[in-house]
Symmetry: C2
Subunit: 126 residues, 2 copies
């Protein structure tokens, strides 16, 4: 058996498929969209309003990539006016949960970060 020193997980390897999977979702729009979809299917415009600061371009682009990789399911009702819904897949849902945890961390600690920043920027003077 191999020695158990530093548990070098697969994701730490630059070329592993796990790393590729991680890099796919390691951006702020994915980290916001996945949690946004947690409360059930949402439409383009809903997401556009819900996720502040996202542009139509980035919304489509990110959703498309998530759909392509099976994290998000796109349902086109083929009606007029158009009606398209996005939902988390079974593969995407656990990731959504993990990102919700990140969001909660941000809301719980953003004040600590601000404090640390002030301390660092302040006294870090020569």
């Amino acid at each position: 058996m191999k020695t158990a020193e530093a548990p070098t997980v697969d994701v730490f390897s630059a070329t592993s498929p796990s790393r590729a999977a991680l890099e796919l979702v390691a951006n702020k729009w994915a980290m916001l969209l996945m949690p946004a979809l947690r409360d059930g299917p949402m439409r383009n415009n809903e997401l556009l309003r819900r996720v502040g600061g996202i542009s139509q371009k980035m919304l489509t682009q990110t959703l498309r990539e998530l759909e392509r990789n099976g994290l998000v399911l796109r349902t086109d009702h083929h009606s007029v006016p158009p009606h398209v819904e996005y939902a988390l897949s079974d593969v995407g849902r656990p990731l959504g949960e993990a990102f919700v945890a990140v969001g909660r961390w941000a809301e719980a600690h953003h004040r600590d970060l601000a404090d640390a920043r002030r301390a660092f920027d302040g006294q870090e003077r020569g």
Copy 2:
């Protein structure tokens, strides 16, 4: 009291400090470094080897920003040759845990993603 429709969390607001906190850590190097530091303090070179694909520049830059915001503690032993250690702070640790969950998700589902991608790219033909 307010109505409870879509639980619009703070992090969804483009200008909230929570969002700023999230954006700070919403990049692949932070998502890899935080988990890498979970098993105890590590030195520059250790991280450089452990986290595949990271450059010295991005390592320093990311660590510096995490330190500035109080997620990572830097300890300079002021010895020669230099000996500097990086460790998670109490604020950073829970985030490290959340990112570990993301990493585990990646390792558990990267095959599903590959399958979905092949299906999507294949049959999505006119």
